[in-house]
Symmetry: C2
Subunit: 199 residues, 2 copies
DNA sequence: TGTCAACTTTACATGGTGTAAAGTTAAATT
DNA sequence: AATTTAACTTTACACCATGTAAAGTTGACA
């Protein structure tokens, strides 16, 4: 049976995931990954061009495992206010799941053009989705008038960055619940028209 | 005259500064710095223990040149609302001046304990100052009651991070003015009691 | 003349990434 | 049964940046 022993590619991806998941690890090397996957270091290069490529593939693998795409799409029918909070909640709960990989990718960004491009690509997907939530608010006439839609999108997108999550969660010691609740409240307070801002 | 030719240490610091200031440069090496300072690579190690040490010294040098300490202290007498906006404005205008060095230090953080510690140290100073502004608001009864003072401080501190500035300024294309104005407005909207939040 | 500090020059150890190529193994092909 | 092929291992090495080591140069000062 081929299903008893996962194929090498998957073994490498899950090993990468496991290693990056544990916070302590500051610097995960290709040899660490190979060892964890019980595979030679060269086998890794047989499946992935380089370190950046492997990290990106791992990130995509997590997207698959966690079905983030369908989860986000489920929001698209909701009324604007619920959609806003829903999006903040879903993305905010997804961050801790992918933070390890994200962090490794971010660390590579300066100096590695491929890593940079891959990261920007992922983040622009987040930006787009944030924009949809803002558009929904605007469509229902709920968006405040002291910001353009683009400004609103880019502010919220920035607020929801992984770095901010990490700083509040790890440096400031916030609980995950407090993080989510607070971000939802801030989003409403900053983005909505006066009458709805206290909701 | 010893003043016509700046001492080597200063030459190295200003060379580091110049190189890190230009955005394009993704990866500034010790040899680049030495070359720019017209000094041998080894001379750099005569004045600074290692790369992290050099970057930290450069950051402190900028603090000196720009007199950030006294500038911030000038806020301490102001009424809470002006103090809040003043702090957001001063720090927000300081970020672009030190972003090059900050970025290089951030890039070293994972993997270099010394860089990590130095960065955390600098950021905790920002956090403390942010806390003072929050305390002033609380003292005048202006702080909203849906957050503790620590929460308010850590939220604002996070909002004012260099990464957020860079994302809005460079990725989202905001002007420096828009960045400052917006951050001041968000701070008021999120932190102040309902009656004052629209100010 | 001699000493000392600051700097240069040359050389090398280290550690991680990525490349190259020959060797092994087991399953599929004929 | 013999052979081909793909996937993987093993060994070796080039590269590049950091940091260390030590001998040589220079100029000021005593």
């Amino acid at each position: 049976m081929s299903s008893t022993q996962p194929p090498t590619r998957i073994k490498i991806l899950t090993a990468t995931w496991n290693l990056l998941e544990k916070e302590e690890t500051p610097q995960v090397r290709m040899s660490d990954i190979a060892k964890a996957a019980k595979v030679s270091r060269q086998a890794v290069y047989l499946h992935f061009e380089n370190r950046a490529d492997l990290l990106v593939a791992t990130a995509r693998h997590l997207d698959d495992v966690y079905k983030i795409g369908p989860t986000v799409e489920a929001l698209h029918g909701l009324p604007a206010l619920e959609r806003l909070s829903g999006w903040v909640g879903i993305w905010g709960d997804y961050i801790p799941k992918v933070y390890g990989v994200g962090r490794a990718l971010m660390a590579m960004m300066d100096g590695d053009a491929e890593a940079r491009a891959a990261w920007d690509d992922r983040m622009s997907a987040v930006r787009r989705e944030t924009g949809f939530a803002i558009d929904a608010l605007a469509a229902e006439g709920l968006l405040c008038d002291h910001m353009t839609r683009d400004e609103a999108r880019d502010f919220l997108w920035t607020l929801l960055s992984m770095r901010n999550w990490a700083q509040l969660r790890h440096e400031a010691g916030w609980s995950q619940d407090r993080y989510i609740t607070h971000m939802q409240a801030v989003a409403r307070r900053v983005l909505l028209k006066g009458a709805h801002a206290q909701a």
